[in-house]
Symmetry: C2
Subunit: 455 residues, 2 copies
């Protein structure tokens, strides 16, 4: 076989040790916080039945699912006509029964229904796994990326919302990312839609409102007109979205606008209680009630949350909300849940660009023994075993290569100490220890070396 | 949409919190050991280009690859005739460019070649990720399962083999699994094949020899006859495979049989040196030179390793070996590597069935505050924040549900302590702390509680 030029599929990446160390730092921070609030981990398979995934993410989502070709004689009874007419959508359904997961929320809903008899509700779970989307790859958007989700299912208490906000604040504080937590409630948006006589267009309204920050008021008005929403209603919409002031001020203005609508009033009550519960959380002004926050996903029904970096315009680095009936489609109606999802890749980008990673994320070897040949190997192997028992990651260069090459290996791997044992040292039972940062060399005993190089 | 009965695809599983805790215990033990020997983590994408995967695992491997349907108009220019003739193999190649990874070794070889300019050799990497195989699911065999690999690439020193054996012994000792490490060398098998005049049938020989322990001598002889190997040669093979005695004895007998063959002699030298290097490792007799060990994978060229549980017949729980030219197919010839792969799922099964997991793998909440209603929430939320600062995972039940329900939640989640704060306690600034194991209740201050429940 001729040599292939090796590459990864478009939109996917390898993670090398340096990047892995930084990613693991993010994952560890998130995991530790989740666990300190009593969330427990689960994992679900990379592939799900397409019946689980299809229809949950809208038309675009269906299109962006990666589908797995059935094994064996996959064409089976697939319709020859469909093939000849080259209808990809119909064909794909006949030759693929499974797809790669598109997010962690729908598999979680499936999990909850499937394991309902083993779960003690309210169920607080977290899940950190990759998801796959056949999106057009572009800067900062990948076809394989990690989501870190925490959800509480089976309780409609707003204490859960407060807890997820506290978790979010805690994680970003630990990572050193300054951020704003924007919150809103879908019931308020629904109330506004009713108020201006567009209750049945709520979906269209939220999709457009969601773009306000990105494309601006004029473009959104244009989009709404294109969707066939009358100019008069649009004129009534924007003053409501433009309420100004502190969280409480805005809420009071909205309360007087929405007081005739049941759902809107319910939204006001919930937001009032949530703001009260969140008093004292985060820095002053960090939690911002924003009536223009809409979020795209259709399954949200109550509180919605979005987190933006204060120092870098990169889109949301965390988002979530309450969904009242996600498990209904799998045969378990009336179970309310609320969750947040952290985007590990964007968080990584923010931390890289703002230089927020601590210096020592790369957990690497502390000490390299130079290899001077077979006759000293046994002696060194015994020392290595002792060092590792002391919790000191250490290694012996496997070949008796040139000293220069061995030192350059230590350098490239950021190994801070190198031990040299020549004939002289071996006779005396001593070690020449070289500090790779300072270049300093000294002769020490094994015990002295251990206390010197220990972290 | 009507409610669906939710399920996962055949051969895949959900991991619930209890199982996750035990799996993470295994992964942590493996990771800590790998890192203490200077191995660094990498990760590669779940999907690889099919050109990377095809032809690397033999015909069966190609058949067992999960293929991903191309996005969009996937039929494109695919041959209509192939479709009408329903030739799955030809069709699949036209409508799928990518597949899910089948193991971690081939993606690693691809990684090494792709990143050769950024890697400092010898490169010691570990990788813990799922792999996918469209195998027929059966007890203990899954379509999605985790491999934990450590490899050294770019050094042909036998110190690497010794190190991987030491790592293997260390990991299984830490997990409490008693095991035997079987080692052999493909060069010895090659020498034997030459010796009996079957050099060109080495592949067939190793595949059959590999089955000796499973199906026995008679069946293997039958299989060899069916493969067209003459009875005379078969008669000469088995006495060689039946050498008896200690490691050194067996090796000496083989040395006298193979002394005319260059590769065989090379194998003897390598095995001699490896056994010498391994002196003192593990318990007496734990490392066993076994000339019948063959291992299926074609890419091994030197030492081969396989680990078996002493207490449970479940097949190999770890295996590996040296491969001299895995990167050659990707355009980087002459780079030798050696690695081992731990099968997390079989290890899990062994530990479960032998009851080897420590009692406290489930890192769960230490303390649950009972929720008696809104008026005490603020008070409790402040305490929670203090407890978490002390590193104590704790939570407040989110609803003011019946006490019985809240206690049963604590029970199901294995939460060891429950705090009750009634009106009385709040006035006094005290807490009623209930030990869920002993059932004992006592009134304590916050500070007393912290020192009581801390792990």
């Amino acid at each position: 076989m001729s040599a292939q030029k090796p590459s990864v599929p478009k939109g996917t990446r390898d993670y090398s040790p340096g990047v892995m160390a930084r990613r693991n730092y993010i994952f560890r921070t998130i995991t530790d916080t989740f666990e300190s609030f009593g969330y427990q981990p689960i994992e679900t398979p990379a592939m799900e039945n397409l019946s689980t995934l299809l229809g949950k993410y809208g038309e675009e989502g269906d299109r962006l699912l990666f589908r797995i070709l059935n094994s064996g004689n996959f064409p089976g009874d697939a319709d020859r006509e469909d093939w000849l007419n080259a209808d990809p959508a119909r064909l794909a359904l006949q030759i693929c029964d499974r797809g790669l997961r598109y997010d962690l929320t729908v598999p979680f809903a499936r999990y909850v229904v499937q394991h309902r008899n083993d779960i003690s509700f309210p169920f607080k779970r977290y899940q950190i796994q990759p998801v796959w989307r056949a999106d057009r790859p572009q800067k900062g958007r990948y076809r394989e990326f990690y989501q870190c989700d925490a959800d509480v299912i089976g309780s409609d208490s707003l204490l859960n919302e407060r807890e997820l906000i506290e978790i979010t604040i805690g994680i970003f504080a630990a990572l050193g990312i300054k951020c704003s937590i924007k919150i809103n409630n879908r019931k308020l948006l629904s109330g506004i839609a009713s108020q201006i006589g567009l209750k049945e267009r709520l979906g269209d309204l939220t999709t457009s409102i969601d773009k306000l920050d990105k494309i601006g008021r004029e473009k959104v008005m244009e989009e709404l007109r294109e969707k066939g929403i009358p100019g008069e209603e649009i004129q009534r919409l924007f003053p409501i979205l433009s309420v100004e002031g502190g969280n409480q001020d805005k809420l009071e203005q909205l309360a007087s606008i929405l007081n005739a609508d049941t759902e809107g009033t319910q939204g006001i009550t919930e937001m009032n209680r949530l703001l009260k519960l969140c008093e004292g959380l985060g820095s002053p002004g960090q939690i911002q009630f924003d009536i223009k926050l809409a979020r795209g996903l259709n399954y949200y029904t109550g509180t919605i949350i979005e987190v933006l970096s204060d120092d870098l315009e990169i889109g949301s680095i965390c988002g979530g909300g309450r969904y009242d009936d996600l498990t209904g489609v799998f045969g378990m109606p009336g179970v309310s849940g609320v969750g947040v999802s952290f985007g590990a890749d964007r968080i990584y980008d923010v931390m890289s660009r703002l230089d927020l990673f601590p210096g020592e994320t790369l957990s690497s070897t502390r000490l390299l023994f130079v290899n001077f040949g077979e006759e000293r190997e046994g002696y060194i192997l015994n020392m290595l075993s002792r060092l590792r028992k002391e919790g000191i990651a250490s290694e012996l260069y496997p070949d008796a290569a040139k000293l220069r090459k061995q030192l350059s290996y230590a350098n490239n791997k950021n190994i801070p100490f190198v031990a040299l044992i020549g004939e002289e040292e071996m006779k005396k039972g001593m070690i020449t220890l070289k500090n790779m940062l300072s270049g300093k060399q000294e002769e020490v005993s094994l015990e002295e070396m251990i206390s010197e190089i220990r972290l």
